[in-house]
Every structure is written in structure tokens, then in C-alpha cells.
């Protein structure tokens, strides 16, 4: 990558960090990875050294190379890489160096480091063995390079497995090497070896290099695979096959004048295959197997990091469990958390990051779990253990996190869960109905359509009744009060009644023999009636006085005459009762009644 590109990358990174200054905290995390393409070379060969500086900050420093006096070191350029995963920025710088050996021997390459923030981050050390020319070739390889007649082959293929006897799920690195001593046309076509019974990950092609075998220079192309056996027992890695085109071998074309023969001669398609490789896969030992072992093989570490250490009840804390190491990272299972009394736990996300450093598959797997504290106080997320089998020592190993202490604070208005012997309901039924309610069986009280209660006779009667009762009672009362308070009114009011009584008595005496008593009664009835009506004393009332009084009250003339006649008749009868006939008595009685009725009808002023 050109300098300009690097600069622009840095600008982008700088911008990102301005937006998220919080990430600057993680800036301490710088790693330096050193790797070689091969660990053994001949004196006339070269090795490629790769240094990868990675971290989470904007300005990754260049590595400081130690002096390597046994090699000539040529820089082969650098490249940078930025990636943003889940908002986390990671950047890496890759530096390539070509090492040309000066002398045979074994040389450690360490002390490659970077300095950042006044801190020194050292890379891993590698070792490069330089053999004297030709000595890098094993006798086995020399044998393969020769055909039956002992002549060296123009091309051949070799498959090498680094382990013949691995544990199940342990990495076996398979290297397919294609050797060719002649020129070929185009690009060779590879048919990958069959790897039934393995989980396979291609590690990639190495840069071609040359090697002297049997005094012949071969170009070597390598392709590496990481194989993880998924079952035990004898497994076979099939043949890898390469098909490619070479120039036709024709002795006559070796004419020194026909220098274009090789170019224009017809190409010949040839095929080379590697031999099958037998692998015997061992089962994992049953002895000492931890209970939480889930089949992970390799070498791993586990860490747990909460996003905060102080939290309110019922608020989430996100804990990141990171499992890092070498081995088949894809087969790493989620750590077992179990039930915790103080927390509700939800899995939020998981992600994995695979690396192929030094042909060893590895990387990290991140599980994010959300813990929701149920009660206030200092709560502890216990240490989580993670067990794996380490094939290098042939033993089970358990890594574990540190317990995390959380300060859970009580939010305002927090009320603790009451201790009840009931669990939460299994089902919540909403208030929303699904259908109308059913019809009614009973027709209920029927009424004529549109009837208004206000106009029904019952309603009117019920409401009219008290009005009438009140009116009646008030009238009665008023009358009573008048009677009690006004003697004249009372006498006048009672007059007719008393007169009627007397007349009735007179009627019972209405015979000639009792004429005296009869007329006495009539007289009393009449005089006391008039006295009552006029509110005067009945004693000493003469016909003249009565006439005078009635006239004063403007009574009718006939009435006055009748009264006077009757009084005279009574006087006459009292003094001469013998002259009274039955007719007189009857007439007088009728006249008395008539007169009283007449007076009663008169309104006295």
C-alpha cells in the first residue's frame, strides 16, 4: 500500500477516534506477531519474515528490528488493514522482510518489538535453521524425486501430514508440495485431496521457493490445510492431483538453432498426484475428563469483562466472555453459566474471529451475556470455568474467569419481591373480547312501543295524589282554624245543623195533642237559628226586633214575612192551642224548614 493510502487510512482512523474517544482506553492492547514462511532453508535459499502489529489505536508504530547479522534483510513492503466489528475498531500493520542467510546454523529471531506510549510490546520469537546447501533435503525426498531408473523426475507431488497419530479434533497440518523442474504453461489446476472424516480449513498457499534435490533445481509450491479429525480410528487423506501443461519432450527440438522450439512446440497435459496419507486418530482419554468438558481441543484462555460494575436493580449488565487460543475455534461451545439466584441471564450475541498464525488455526470466540440483577447489594457473578483438552501434554485443563463483583444499587421506589409460594402466571389473558356476548333467554318486561312513563295514568295519579291530599288538608285546616277563632262564624256555621235537629224534634211532636210543645220547638228553632246566624242572644227576640235585624242585613222581604208569620203563629198556638188543626201543624213545619233553607241561602252582609 502506498504512503498516501496509509495516510488516508490514518485520517479515517483519527476521525473515528474523535467520534469515540472512549475507545482510547483500550489503546494499550498492542500485539506483535512474528512468523516465518519456513523454519528450515538451505544456504542458497531465502525465508520470508512477517511481522504483524495489531491494535485498536490510530497510529500503530513501526516495529523496531533487531540487528540480524547472520542475514541480509530486505524490506518487502508493508500493508495496513482496518476493520470495525461491533463498533470496535481494530487495525493492523503487516511488514514483510526477506532474509538471505550468510552462514549455516540455527538462529533465533526475537527482540522484535514496538514502543507505544512509552511501553514496549515484544513479539514472539521464531527460529530459523539454515542448512548448508543441499543438506535441507531429506533422503526420503531424494528418493521421491527419482523414478524407477534412478533418473530425476521433472515434476512430482508430495503430501506431508505433521502428525500421524493425533487426538480426535486435534489439528493435523497437511502440506501439499508440488515440485517442478521444468517450465509449465498457464496455471496448474489443483484437485483438492479428499478429507472425509475431517473438518477442513485451507490455510493458504505459501510463496513459491526453490530447492535443490539431487543437484536439480526444483520450484516448490506449497499449499497447507488444517485438518481436524471428527472421528477416531484409521482415516485416509486422499490424493491431491495437479493437472498442468508442459512443453513436449522432443530430443530433436534440442537443436541449438531452434531456439523457439519450446515456445511453439505443442504443449502436453500431464497429471501428478500425491500418495494417500494414513492417519490414525486416537480417542480422548476418559480419565480426568472434567464434567463441563464439551470437546474443545487445543490451548485456550478465558476472560470475562463486565461493561459496568455499578448498576441499578433490574438494569442489564453486559458481560463479555472471551475465549482465545489455538485449536478449532469453531467447535468452542458457549461456557456453561447455570442458574443464578440473583440474576436473570440472557444471551445477547456471539462472534468468532479465526486466525491462522504460523499454520496453526486459532482465534477468539466472544460470547456476550446480559445479566440482570434481581436484588440490590453486592452481587457476584461467579467464576466461569472452561475445560479443554491440551494435546501437547495429553491432559485436560480447565481455565476459568475471575468472579465479578457488582455493586447493585437500589433505584428510587424499589420494592423488593414479596416472598410468596406462587410462581408467575403461565398465561396472561387480555381483556379484549373475541366475540359478541350471547343472546338473552328472558324477553324481560314488555312495554308498548314508544310508551313514555311520564304520560301514563299511573305516573300522573301517583304524582297528582299528594297535591290533592295537601290541598284538601289545607282547606280542612283553614276551616277549623276559622271555627275555633270566630264565635260568630262558628255559631252561624252550626246554626242550620241545630235548627235541623230542633225541626226534627218538632216533627216528632207534629200532632194536634202536642201542638203546644210542637210550636214551642218551632219557635226555639227559628229564633235560636236567627240568633246564631246574626251572632246575637236569642233571649228577648221579638218579631219586631227580628224584622229590624233582618232588614238591616238586607234580607228578602218574603223571608222576613215568613219569619214574622211563623213567630206570630207560634205565639198564637202557645196561647190558644185548641184552635190548632193538623193542617196548621204540617204547614208550619214545612214553612219553618223552607224559611231556614231560605235564610241559609242568604248571604248576610
Amino acid at each position: 500500500m502506498s504512503t498516501r493510502n496509509v495516510t488516508s487510512g490514518l485520517i479515517i482512523l483519527a476521525a473515528l477516534f474523535m467520534i469515540t474517544p472512549a475507545n482510547a482506553k483500550a489503546a494499550d492492547d498492542v500485539t506483535v506477531e512474528v512468523s516465518l514462511d519456513r523454519d528450515t532453508i538451505g544456504l542458497d535459499e531465502h525465508a520470508m519474515l512477517q511481522v504483524v502489529v495489531s491494535g485498536t489505536m490510530q497510529n500503530l508504530p513501526d516495529p523496531i528490528m533487531p540487528s540480524l547479522p547472520m542475514f541480509e534483510v530486505y524490506s518487502q513492503g508493508r500493508s495496513s488493514n482496518i476493520s470495525i466489528v461491533n463498533g470496535q475498531v481494530s487495525a493492523s500493520l503487516t511488514f514483510n522482510y526477506m532474509l538471505l542467510p550468510q552462514k549455516a546454523g540455527t538462529y533465533p529471531i526475537d527482540q522484535i518489538a514496538v514502543v507505544y506510549n512509552n511501553k514496549r510490546f515484544k513479539g514472539n520469537s521464531v527460529e530459523l535453521t539454515v542448512l548448508s546447501s543441499g543438506a535441507a533435503v531429506s533422503p526420503d525426498l531424494e528418493e521421491q524425486a527419482a523414478d524407477e531408473s534412478g533418473k530425476s523426475k521433472d515434476y512430482f507431488m508430495e503430501a506431508v501430514a505433521d502428525k500421524k497419530n493425533p487426538y480426535v479434533n486435534e489439528q493435523v497440518t497437511l502440506t501439499m508440495k508440488f515440485y517442478t523442474a521444468v517450465q509449465y504453461y498457464g496455471s496448474p489446476e489443483l484437485t483438492e485431496p479428499t478429507t472425509t472424516g475431517f473438518w477442513t480449513e485451507v490455510l493458504g498457499n505459501n510463496a513459491p521457493y526453490t530447492q535443490m534435490i539431487n543437484n536439480r533445481r526444483y520450484k516448490v509450491i506449497e499449499r497447507k490445510y488444517a485438518l481436524f479429525p471428527t472421528q477416531t480410528g484409521e482415516l485416509t487423506i486422499g490424493r491431491g492431483t495437479i493437472r498442468f501443461t508442459v512443453a513436449r519432450r522432443d530430443r530433436r527440438s534440442r537443436d541449438p538453432f531452434n531456439i523457439f522450439g519450446d515456445f511453439f512446440g505443442q504443449g502436453m497435459e500431464v497429471t501428478v498426484s500425491s500418495l494417500p496419507v494414513q492417519i490414525n486418530v486416537k480417542p480422548l482419554p476418559t480419565q480426568g475428563r472434567p464434567a463441563d468438558f464439551t470437546g474443545t481441543i487445543g490451548k485456550f484462555g478465558i476472560s470475562a469483562t463486565p461493561d459496568k460494575r455499578e448498576v441499578e436493580v433490574n438494569q442489564p449488565v453486559s458481560v463479555t466472555f472471551k475465549i482465545t487460543g489455538s485449536g478449532n475455534i469453531k467447535s468452542v461451545a458457549e461456557p456453561v453459566l447455570g442458574e443464578l439466584d440473583d440474576f436473570r441471564i440472557y444471551q445477547a450475541s456471539s462472534s468468532e474471529n479465526m486466525s491462522k498464525l504460523n499454520d496453526q488455526l486459532g482465534g477468539s470466540k466472544i460470547f456476550e451475556e446480559v445479566f440482570i440483577p434481581k436484588r440490590p447489594g453486592t452481587l457476584e457473578i461467579p467464576a466461569i470455568s472452561f475445560s479443554y483438552f491440551d494435546p501437547t501434554v495429553g491432559k485436560y485443563t480447565t481455565a476459568s474467569t475471575r468472579a465479578i463483583k457488582l455493586n447493585v444499587i437500589k433505584p428510587e421506589g424499589y420494592a423488593g419481591q414479596p416472598d410468596l409460594p406462587y410462581s408467575a402466571p403461565d398465561l396472561t389473558i387480555g381483556s379484549q373480547a373475541r366475540d359478541i356476548r350471547y343472546i338473552k333467554d328472558d324477553i324481560g318486561s314488555l312495554a308498548p312501543v314508544g310508551r313514555l312513563l311520564l304520560l301514563t295514568p299511573i305516573y300522573l295519579a301517583v304524582n297528582g295524589l299528594p297535591v290533592l291530599v295537601l290541598a284538601g288538608l289545607v282547606l280542612i285546616r283553614l276551616r277549623r282554624e276559622k271555627l275555633a277563632g270566630d264565635i260568630g262564624y262558628a255559631r252561624s256555621h252550626r246554626a242550620a245543623k241545630i235548627a235541623k235537629k230542633r225541626l226534627a224534634k218538632a216533627k216528632s211532636l207534629a200532632t194536634v195533642n202536642q201542638a203546644g210543645s210542637f210550636y214551642a220547638e218551632i219557635y226555639t228553632a227559628l229564633t235560636s237559628y236567627i240568633a246564631d246566624k246574626l251572632n246575637i242572644s236569642p233571649h228577648g227576640l221579638t218579631s219586631e226586633r227580628i224584622t229590624e235585624l233582618l232588614k238591616a242585613k238586607s234580607a228578602e222581604g218574603t223571608v222576613i214575612r215568613n219569619v214574622v208569620d211563623l213567630i206570630q203563629k207560634c205565639d198564637f198556638a202557645r196561647f190558644a192551642p185548641a184552635s190548632i188543626t193538623q193542617e196548621d201543624i204540617t204547614e208550619s213545619l214545612a214553612k219553618a224548614e223552607q224559611t231556614i233553607v231560605q235564610i241559609e241561602g242568604t248571604k248576610f252582609a
Binding site: A433, D435, I436, R437, Y438, I439, K440, D441, D442, I443, G444, S445, L446, A447, P448, V449, G450, L452, L453, L454, P457, I458, Y459, A461, V462, N463, G464, L465, P466, V467, L468, V469, L470, G472, L473, V474, I476, R477
Partner: protein, 254 residues
């Protein structure tokens, strides 16, 4: 005089009673018959049967309610809501009627966006809504009779104590309130004419003529208040105070 009045009341009561009881027996049988048809999901026939009970000139809240249910099940939302409204007017406190009315209303294709009612009016509506007009009328009547009992005590019997006076004043206040509420209820439920849109296509126009523009498109089940009328159109007011003119045969009056 009192005896004569009693005679009138009793006579009036007996004049009504036999007529009602005769109607009840045959109507009750027809009602039960209609319910059986409803149970058998013969909704059209059930509607006919319920209607024949109504045609005898009698009504009850259960009758209207069941009729509403039958129309709802038949898929005729407009008539279902119409009869629920009729049922509710006769028995506003019945929970089933209120539930089914609310349930049916939510299926109307057009929903009216609410408008805040006048707070006094809505308070009065909420006050009188759970009671039948008859109940309110009887409460008023009770207050009236009670007031007259106190008046009788005071003016007829001459009990002139402060207690009687206070009771009379309190009863008078109650009477004024109850008569006021009864009047409001009567105006709201009986004098205010309401109708329900029954037609599937119910354009509401800006004026009472064929040429008027469409103000809005109504849908079955929408409740309107009839403000005015012409021989062919009603001037209607929707629940959200939108107004317009709609052809008479597209709505049914409650």
C-alpha cells in the same frame, strides 16, 4: 274525594294489566322460538321471528339486544348497532348490551376520530347514562311525593318544626336536580333524533341535492344525530362534529 282517586288509580292499573299479560304470553313463545333459530345459526329466520314480536307493538331491551346479535352474526353491522342502541335506551345499565355495542362499533370500516365534547355536557351524559329515563322519572316522582309529605306535615297537619322545614328544603333541592336530570335525559335520548348508517355505500354530501359534493364517505354502523330534514335528505351530525347531508334511505332512525 280520596276514595274516588284511589278508585281511578286501581281502575287504570287493571285496565292495563290484562292487555300486557296477554301480549306477554304469545310474545314470550315467539321470542323463545326466535332464540332457537338463533342457536341453530338461522340468523335470517331469527331476525324475522324477532321482528314479528316487535310487530305486536311491544318492545323490550332483550328483544332489541337479541335482534342486534342476529344482525351482527348475519354481517349487517348497521342494523346490529341500530338495535343495540334501541336496547341500550331501554336498559342503559345492562353490561351485555354496552359490551356488544362497543364490540360491534369497532368493526365499522370507518372510524371517527374523536373530538372533545363540551365538558359540562359530557359530565351530564356520564351522570344520566347508566339510568333509564323511567328510573330518573320515578326518582323525581319520589322526591316530589316526599316534598309534598313534608308540605302536608307543615301546612296540612301544622307540624311546624325546624326539622320538617329543613327536610322540605333538602327535598326541594333534590327534586330540582332530579327533574333537571330527567329533562336532560329525555332531551338527550328521546328528543335528539339519532340514526345509524345501514347502507354499504353511504356518501355524505355537502348539501341536500343530487349535485352536491361528497363531504365524506360513511360506512355501516356509524351513528349520527339528525339535525334537520328535507323530504329526501337528513342533515346529520357525526360523533366527531362533522356534518353533512345523507339520503334518508341510507340510514335507519333509532
Amino acid at each position: 274525594l280520596l276514595r274516588r282517586l284511589n278508585c281511578i288509580i286501581i281502575a287504570a292499573f287493571f285496565a292495563f294489566a290484562p292487555r300486557l299479560s296477554v301480549a306477554t304470553t304469545s310474545a314470550g313463545e315467539q321470542f323463545a322460538q326466535a332464540n332457537k333459530l338463533y342457536e341453530a345459526k338461522e340468523f335470517d329466520k331469527a331476525i324475522q321471528a324477532y321482528q314479528s314480536v316487535l310487530s305486536q307493538g311491544v318492545e323490550s331491551s332483550s328483544l332489541y339486544y337479541n335482534l342486534g346479535n342476529a344482525y351482527f352474526k348475519k354481517g349487517d353491522l348497521g342494523y346490529a348497532i341500530l338495535y343495540y342502541l334501541k336496547a341500550k335506551r331501554l336498559d342503559p345499565s345492562d353490561d351485555d348490551i354496552a359490551h356488544n355495542l362497543a364490540f360491534a362499533k369497532q368493526f365499522s370500516r370507518v372510524q371517527m376520530e374523536g373530538v372533545e365534547l363540551n365538558p359540562i355536557s359530557s359530565f351530564l351524559v356520564s351522570l344520566v347514562d347508566p339510568y333509564r329515563l323511567e328510573t330518573l322519572a320515578w326518582i323525581s316522582s319520589g322526591c316530589f311525593i316526599l316534598l309534598f309529605l313534608f308540605l302536608i306535615a307543615r301546612f296540612g297537619l301544622g307540624i311546624r318544626t325546624a326539622g320538617v322545614r329543613l327536610a322540605a328544603v333538602v327535598t326541594l333541592v333534590l327534586l330540582v336536580v332530579s327533574v333537571g336530570l330527567t329533562t336532560f335525559k329525555y332531551r338527550h335520548d328521546y328528543l335528539t333524533r339519532r340514526a345509524v348508517i345501514i347502507a354499504e355505500e353511504a356518501p355524505v354530501l355537502t348539501g341536500p341535492t343530487e349535485q352536491s359534493d361528497v363531504e365524506l364517505q360513511g360506512a355501516p354502523g356509524l351513528i349520527v344525530e339528525i339535525l334537520a330534514e328535507t323530504p329526501e335528505y337528513y342533515n346529520v351530525l357525526f360523533e366527531n362534529k362533522r356534518r353533512g347531508w345523507i339520503k334518508r334511505d341510507l340510514v335507519a332512525e333509532v
